[in-house]
């Protein structure tokens, strides 16, 4: 494994990190420079995984996945990292496109810093995705979180954005303290921070402290994913943060958190006895997340809060697929496909919400369902796009990608004997039809009352994003195989090995 290919895998992180810093120094006046700079950097970073795929498969040695790459266990050169790097980069690309031209109206005064921060946060997300060792995970996670706290609070003038940042900061650091404590216990028990070593040691180690350590780590993971007992931050932060940042958090950050969860739960604690410890509580968390996510969303008036709770619900479905250590290969593939599909639709939905709220960001009822009233008459194309996204989230066929994703996910859940969970997931997705359709009925059935603000023409960036997301969801819906096969291969390569 020549060194050159190893270096390649680190390039995206470096490019984004340094690039972000340079962008932050750009002059504040003109927004176009930092925006196009960010796009260029992202494209460069994106070209790396596609051109030098070798860099990512080097890590998969004969003995299995986790042999140390150039940077020790810190960076894993395996297809999962490749898959998530691509996902994070494309996600960031879309967020940059979404926020182009809208920063002023969103209340973000300094655009270069915003784009710089965005790039650097994505860099840390890539670190987190590829981390195979506890300390790197922690640092990557903290870097990601700090970036998000700042991005949330970037609309400094708006009280809600700062409040969101505050809440996210306090709860984030509070939960990462627990995560760290878990890591320390695990280190104390197994003697090393590398996941491979931990996985080997955990089987033969004294149980009680190990369980305590695993439990606490699980807390940190579930907090970041937004699973129910730890989800209380999600609605407020999603509503408070500027919409592109919310979109970023709902898709890219969730994907990174999912990658962390997969690595920790499957590679770290994947062995059958070890899995036994955390399976019970994870099962309960999945159940609660599905139910609470859907039930509370039913009462939501604000679209962003509703989308927040819907993302909590979808995390519930994903956690259900996380459970079965037995069907990891299939489960992995299903999860990867689901997060891709979910990200596509979330970007679309938030882009439309942004287009609908227009420049009334500071008015409290700006993104209520009432502001969607009569959209089908004032702006039919966007209304049609939003209908497609909502139906996909609900899993009703015009949005076939949602249905296909659910099919993958729940077939894995059923095949690992969690039929009860699958039934609950199914019923919850039926309940979810209610609040998704309520928005659609607002758009199509209710008349555009005079109170609904004039729909202002959103900048080119947002419209491109909406268009591309519609195209992506239709293509994914009709021919899901090209993504799912890749996801299957990726997961098979990394997770199927029974430690």
């Amino acid at each position: 494994m020549t060194n050159v290919t190893q270096w390649v895998a680190v390039i995206p992180t470096a490019v984004l990190g340094l690039g972000g810093m340079v962008l932050a120094l750009a002059p504040r006046g003109e927004e176009r420079i930092p925006a196009f700079g960010a796009l260029a950097l992202l494209l460069v970073a994106l070209s790396v995984p596609f051109l030098f795929e070798g860099g990512y498969t080097a890590g998969v040695g004969a003995s299995g996945v986790l042999n140390a790459g150039l940077f020790g266990a810190g960076f894993l050169h395996d297809p999962v990292t490749w898959f998530f790097t691509v996902l994070v980069l494309t996600g960031t690309l879309v967020v940059v496109a979404m926020s182009f031209g809208r920063l002023k109206s969103l209340g973000i005064s300094s655009s270069p810093e915003y784009y710089g921060l965005l790039l650097m946060t994505s860099a840390s997300a890539i670190v987190l995705v590829g981390a195979g060792e506890l300390i790197t995970i922690f640092v990557g996670l903290e870097a990601l979180s700090l970036g998000l706290y700042c991005l949330c609070g970037s609309a400094v003038s708006s009280r809600r954005s700062v409040e969101g940042a505050l809440k996210y900061f306090i709860l984030g650091s509070f939960s990462s303290a627990f995560l760290l404590y878990g890591m320390s216990v695990l280190y104390g028990v197994t003697g090393s921070t590398e996941l491979a070593v931990i996985a080997r040691e955990l089987v033969s180690v004294r149980q009680i402290p190990a369980i305590f350590g695993v439990g606490l780590i699980l807390v940190g993971v579930f907090f970041k994913l937004g699973a129910v007992p730890f989800h209380f931050w999600a609605p407020d932060v999603y509503q408070g943060a500027p919409t592109p940042v919310t979109a970023y958090m709902a898709s890219v950050v969730k994907a990174a958190a999912l990658a962390m969860a997969m690595r920790l739960l499957w590679n770290g604690f994947g062995h059958n006895e070890v899995a036994g410890w955390w399976l019970g509580s994870a099962w309960t968390v999945a159940l609660l997340t599905m139910i609470v996510g859907n039930i509370v969303a039913v009462r939501q008036r604000n679209v962003k809060r509703m989308l927040a709770y819907s993302s909590v619900a979808h995390v519930g479905y994903m956690t259900a697929a996380l459970l079965p250590p037995g069907a990891r290969a299939a489960g992995g593939g299903a999860l990867l496909f689901y997060i891709v599909a979910y990200s596509v639709v979330t970007f679309g939905a938030f882009a439309v919400t942004m287009a609908v709220t227009g420049d009334r960001v500071d008015q409290p009822s700006a993104d209520d369902i009432s502001s969607f009233a009569g959209l089908s008459r004032t702006n039919p194309r966007i209304a049609a796009a939003m209908t497609l996204f909502l139906l996909t989230l609900a899993g009703l066929p015009p949005g076939t990608v949602g249905l296909v994703g659910k099919f993958y996910l729940l077939s894995v859940v059923v095949q690992s004997h969690f039929v009860g969970l699958a039934v609950v997931a199914a019923i919850c997705s039926a309940i979810s039809c209610y609040f998704y359709l309520r928005v659609i009925s607002a758009m199509y059935v209710q008349q555009a009352t005079d109170v609904t603000p004039p729909h202002f023409v959103s900048p080119l960036g947002t419209r491109i994003v909406i268009g591309s997301m519609v195209a992506a969801s239709i293509i994914l819906g009709l021919t899901p195989s090209f993504v799912h096969n890749r996801a299957q291969a990726v997961a098979h390569g990394v997770f199927v090995r029974q430690p």
């Binding site: 506890l134 300390i135 922690f138 640092v139 903290e142 870097a143 700090l146 706290y149 700042c150 609070g153 400094v156 003038s157 708006s158 009280r159 809600r160 700062v162 409040e163 969101g164 940042a165 505050l166 809440k167 900061f169 306090i170 650091s173 509070f174 303290a177 760290l180 404590y181 890591m183 320390s184 216990v185 280190y187 104390g188 003697g191 090393s192 921070t193 609605p235 407020d236 509503q239 408070g240």
Partner: protein, 100 residues
């Protein structure tokens, strides 16, 4: 050998105190300080574990945790100042516009 045990116990207790502090106090800056307290407790247990395990990884971890804590302090305080600017106070009770 019971040294490690006592240190770990103390760390755990301090950790719990820090946690209670985060929940109880209204002033966000004090909350931040309690979080620092919790991180310190974890650092202590890390060092204790590195003693019992016998390698220095624990201490490297503490090193990195300190870096993180520093960065966190910077960002945290910036947020508190922004909060003060918009909400005129540093009480967490004043920042409850986003709810239900």
């Amino acid at each position: 050998m019971e040294r490690i045990h006592t240190i770990l116990a103390i760390a755990a207790i301090t950790f719990a105190i820090g946690a209670v502090g985060v929940i109880v106090r209204r002033n966000v800056i004090v909350v931040f300080m309690c979080i620092e307290l919790m991180l310190n407790a974890v650092n202590l247990s890390f060092v204790a574990f590195s003693q019992s395990v016998g390698n220095l990884t624990g201490q490297v971890a503490v090193f990195f945790v300190m870096v993180v804590a520093a960065a966190e302090a910077a960002v945290g305080l910036a947020i508190f100042i922004a909060l003060f600017r918009t909400a005129r106070s540093v009480e967490s009770t004043s920042a409850t516009e986003l709810r239900l």
